[in-house]
Symmetry: C2
Subunit: 468 residues, 2 copies
C-alpha cells in the first residue's frame, strides 16, 4: 500500500474533522510540537502533522478506518512519559493521544476486576480501587503521571514486581482498535480462560505497533498489609550481591528488593545531606508485606549481616519505612543534579547483578563518565544512569558508547536489553541482536498479519527484516 | 500450497527414515492406532499415517522442514491426556509425539528457573525441583501422567491457580520449531523482560497450531509451607455460594478453594462410604499455605458458618489434610462409576457460580441426565460432568445437548467456553461464538502468518473464517 502524501494527509484530516468534529483534530503548531516526543534521549522525532484526541472507541475506530483508506501513519501516545521513544512522531505521521479517554468504567469488587480507559493516570487508578479495599500493584517510577494505556502498551514494571509481577500479569482483557479500524475484543473477564490464542498478551508490550488499546479489564488483589522496611548498607558491592543471592536462595520473597550503588548513594547524599556514610559502597532497600513480615525481614537482616553488611535498620512503622526509602526515591533526582542523563534499563539473571554493576564501574572509568546504578535487585532489573553533557559532542558520544557497552554486557550475561522500559526507537538494533534472525522474521510476520499496510507506529520496535 | 497425496506422504516418510534413521518413523498399525486420539469424547479422529518420535530439536526441525516441502500435515502430541481433541490425528496427517524428549535439562536454583524438554511428565518435574527446595505450582488433574509440553500447549491449570496462577504464568522462554522447520527462541530467562512481542504467550495455549515447543524455561517458586485444610458442608448450594463470595470479598486468598455439588457428593459417598451426610448439598474444600494459615482458615470457617454451613472441619496436619481432600480427589472416579462421562470445563465470574450450578441442575432434570459439578470455585472454573450411555443414541444426543446448554450459559454469564482444557476440536464452534467475527479473523491472520501452508494441527482450535 502507498502511504499518504502531504496532500492526502490534509484530505484525511479534513474528512475526519467533518465526520467527528473539529475538536478531535488539533493542528495548532505549538500544541502539535508539544506532542513530538516522549522523555527518551538520543531518539529521532519530528513534529507530527496533527494530533488526534478521540473521546471513545468509536472515534478511534473511525480515525483508523479513515487512516487506512488514506494511507496515513498513526503514532499512538499515552502520557508521553516513555523512555524509549515509542511515542515519538515520525515523518508525516499523525499522533493519536488517548488522554481524553480517562474514565474508570467499572470496579467489580466481587470479582476483583476494574475496567479502565487507557488515559487514566496509573496513580488515580490505584487510588480509586483502594477505596473499595483493592489494590493494583504495578508501580512504575512515573506512576503519578503515566497512563495505564501506556503501561499496558509497554508492559511497565516497578518496584512491586519482585512479589506481584508486571503490568501484563494484571491484564485480563482488552478492547483494541486494529489498523483497519475494526474493533477487537481479546481475553476474558474471568480469572482463568484459555479460549483461543492469547492475543491479550500479544498486544501488551507491543508499543502501539499492532493496534490501539481503548479499554482494558484489569485484575486486582486485596489491599496488602502495611509493609515492614529494612535498609542495609554494605562496605563492598560484592557483599550486597552475596546478600541478594542469599535472600533468593533462602526462598524469601520480599515485596521490594532494591539496590543503590556507591555513585547513586554519593549523589543522593550530596543532594539530601542524609549522611549515608562514607564507606558505604552499596545499599539494599527491602520491604515485606507478608503476615510474618517481622520474621522475614529479621532473616534478611541476618543474611545481610552474614554477607558483610556494615549497618542495618528495620522499621515496622509505615511512615518511618517511607522515610527509609527516601534514598531510593531520590536516586534519579539526585543523579539528575549532576548533568544530562541517559537512563538505561537492562535485566540479567539475579545471580549476575554484581558482575553487571562491576562492569558498569569499569565502563564509567574507561569513558571518564559518572554512571549511577540503581534498580530492582530482586528481579535483576537495573537502571544504569549515564551522566553526560548534551552540549559536548565528545561527552554525548561517550554516553552512547557506554550505553551500548552496558546493553551488550547484559546480553552476554544471559539477560535482556530491556526489563521494563521497552524497545521504542532507542533499542531497535539491540532487539535484533537479542532476537536473532528467526525472531526478527517472526516479529515481522506478526506485524504484517495485523497491520499489513504498516500504518501503526511505523518506526517503533521492529528492527529491519534483513538487519540480523 | 497443495497438501501431500498419500504417495507424497510415503515419499516424505521414506526420506525422513533415510535422513534420521528408521527408529524415529513408526508405521506399525497397532502403534499408530494407539496415537489416534486423546482422552476427549465426541471428537473426530482417524489413524495417523505414521508416528514420528524425535529425540531432539534438530530432528523436529528436520521433520518440519521436510513436511513443509512435501505438504504433509503434522499433529503434535504430548502425553495424549487432553480432553478436547487437540492431539487427535486428522485425515492424512502424521502424528509427532514428543515423549522421547523428556530430559530435565537444567535446574538453576540461584535464579529459580528450570529448563525442560516437552516430554517430561509434570509430576516428575515437580519432584525434581522439590529436591532443591523449589516448587512448580501448576497441578492439572492429570499431573501424574500429562507432560509439561502438553501443559504449555494447552495452558493447563489445576487447583493451585487460585493463588499461584496457570501454566502460562510460569513460562519464561520457549524453543519452538516453526512450520517451515526454522527454530525460534522466544522470551527471556530473566524474571522480567519486555524486548519485542510476547511470542512466548502466543505459543502458550496455541495447541500445536502455531509451532512445536521443543524446550521451555520455567519460573519456579520457593517450596510453600505445608497447607492447613478446611472442609465445610452446606445444606444448600446458595449458602456455599455465599461463602465463596464472602471469602473473596474479605480479601482472603486461599491456596485452594474447591467446590463439590450434591450429585458429586452422592457419587463419592456411594463409592467410598465416607458418610458425607444426607443433607449436604454442597461442600467447599479450602487450603491455605500462608504464614498465618491458621487465622486465614479460622476466618473462612467463620464466614462459612455465617453463610449457613452445617459442618466444618479444620486440620493443620498435612496428612490429615490430604484425607480431608479425598472427596475432591474421588470426584471424577466416583462419577465415572455411573456411566460414560463427558467432562466439560467452563469458567464464569466468581460471583456467578451459584447461578451456573443451579442452571446445570435444571438442565440435568430437563434431559433426565446425571450431571455432577465440581471444580475451582475460587476461580469460577467448573467441571460439569455429564453421565450418559454411549451405546444409547438418545442418551448421547442428550449429553451433547446438555453440554451445549451449559457452554452457552457460561458465555451468557460473562464467562468463557474453556477455563483450562482448551478448544481442540471439541469447542471450535464455541470459540467462534466467544470471539466474534473480528476475533476469528485475527486468529486466522496470526495462524496464516506463522503457518502459511496450514501444515500444523490443521483441524485444531480455529473455527472456519466465515463461521461467525
Amino acid at each position: 500500500m502507498t502511504l499518504a502524501t502531504s496532500h492526502g494527509t490534509d484530505l484525511f484530516l479534513a474528512e475526519l474533522a467533518q465526520n467527528l468534529g473539529t475538536d478531535v483534530v488539533v493542528t495548532d503548531r505549538d500544541v502539535v510540537a508539544s506532542y513530538r516526543h516522549d522523555q527518551s534521549r538520543f531518539t529521532d522525532s519530528t513534529d507530527p502533522v496533527a494530533v488526534l484526541m478521540p473521546r471513545d472507541t468509536g472515534q478511534v475506530s473511525s480515525m483508523l478506518a479513515l487512516a487506512a483508506r488514506f494511507g496515513v501513519t498513526i503514532v499512538p501516545r499515552g502520557a508521553g512519559s516513555g523512555l524509549s521513544g515509542a511515542a515519538n512522531a515520525s515523518e508525516g505521521s499523525v499522533l493519536l493521544s488517548l488522554h481524553r479517554m480517562n474514565s474508570i468504567v467499572e470496579i467489580d469488587a466481587g470479582n476483583r476486576t476494574v475496567v479502565v480507559q487507557p488515559g487514566v493516570i496509573t496513580a488515580d487508578l490505584r487510588a480509586a480501587v483502594s477505596k473499595v479495599g483493592l489494590h493494583y500493584p504495578p508501580d512504575p517510577g512515573s506512576v503519578d503521571f503515566c497512563s495505564i494505556g501506556g503501561n499496558i502498551a509497554t508492559n511497565a514494571g516497578g518496584m512491586c514486581c519482585v512479589k506481584y509481577g508486571v503490568t501484563g500479569d494484571f491484564v485480563l482483557a482488552l478492547c483494541v482498535v486494529m489498523a483497519d479500524g475494526q474493533v477487537l475484543r481479546t481475553g476474558h473477564t474471568t480469572v482463568k480462560g484459555v479460549a483461543g490464542y492469547d492475543l491479550t498478551s500479544l498486544f501488551v508490550g507491543s508499543e502501539g505497533t499492532l493496534g490501539i488499546i481503548t479499554e482494558a479489564t484489569l485484575r486486582l488483589v486485596p489491599t496488602p498489609r502495611a509493609a515492614h522496611t529494612l535498609v542495609a548498607s554494605f562496605p563492598t558491592l560484592e557483599s550486597a550481591g552475596r546478600a541478594v543471592a542469599s535472600i533468593v536462595h533462602a526462598g524469601l520473597t520480599p515485596s521490594m528488593l532494591e539496590i543503590l550503588d556507591r555513585t547513586t548513594i554519593k549523589a543522593v547524599d550530596a543532594m539530601t545531606r542524609m549522611g549515608l556514610g562514607d564507606g558505604v559502597e552499596a545499599m539494599l532497600l527491602v520491604q515485606s508485606d507478608e503476615p510474618d513480615a517481622r520474621d522475614v525481614l529479621g532473616r534478611i537482616e541476618q543474611l545481610s549481616t552474614e554477607a558483610g553488611a556494615s549497618d542495618t535498620v528495620i522499621s515496622d512503622d509505615a511512615a518511618e519505612g517511607e522515610m527509609l526509602l527516601e534514598a531510593r526515591r531520590m536516586a534519579l533526582p539526585a543523579l539528575e543534579q549532576l548533568g544530562d542523563w541517559l537512563l538505561d534499563d537492562v535485566c540479567v539473571p539475579r545471580t549476575r547483578i554484581v558482575e553487571l554493576i562491576a562492569f558498569i564501574e569499569e565502563v564509567a572509568q574507561r569513558h571518564s563518565l559518572t554512571i549511577g546504578v540503581f534498580g530492582h535487585a530482586g528481579d535483576g532489573n537495573l537502571h544504569p544512569t549515564i551522566i553526560y553533557d548534551s552540549n559536548d559532542a565528545q561527552s554525548s558520544a561517550s554516553a552512547v558508547a557506554a550505553f551500548n557497552h552496558i546493553t551488550e554486557k547484559a546480553l552476554e550475561l544471559g539477560g535482556t536489553v530491556t526489563g521494563e522500559h521497552g524497545i521504542g526507537q532507542l533499542k531497535k538494533s539491540w532487539l535484533g541482536r537479542e532476537l536473532g534472525s528467526v525472531g526478527v522474521q517472526v516479529h515481522h510476520a506478526v506485524k504484517e498479519a495485523l497491520d499489513p499496510a504498516g500504518i501503526l507506529n511505523p518506526l517503533g520496535v521492529l528492527p529491519p527484516r534483513d538487519s540480523v
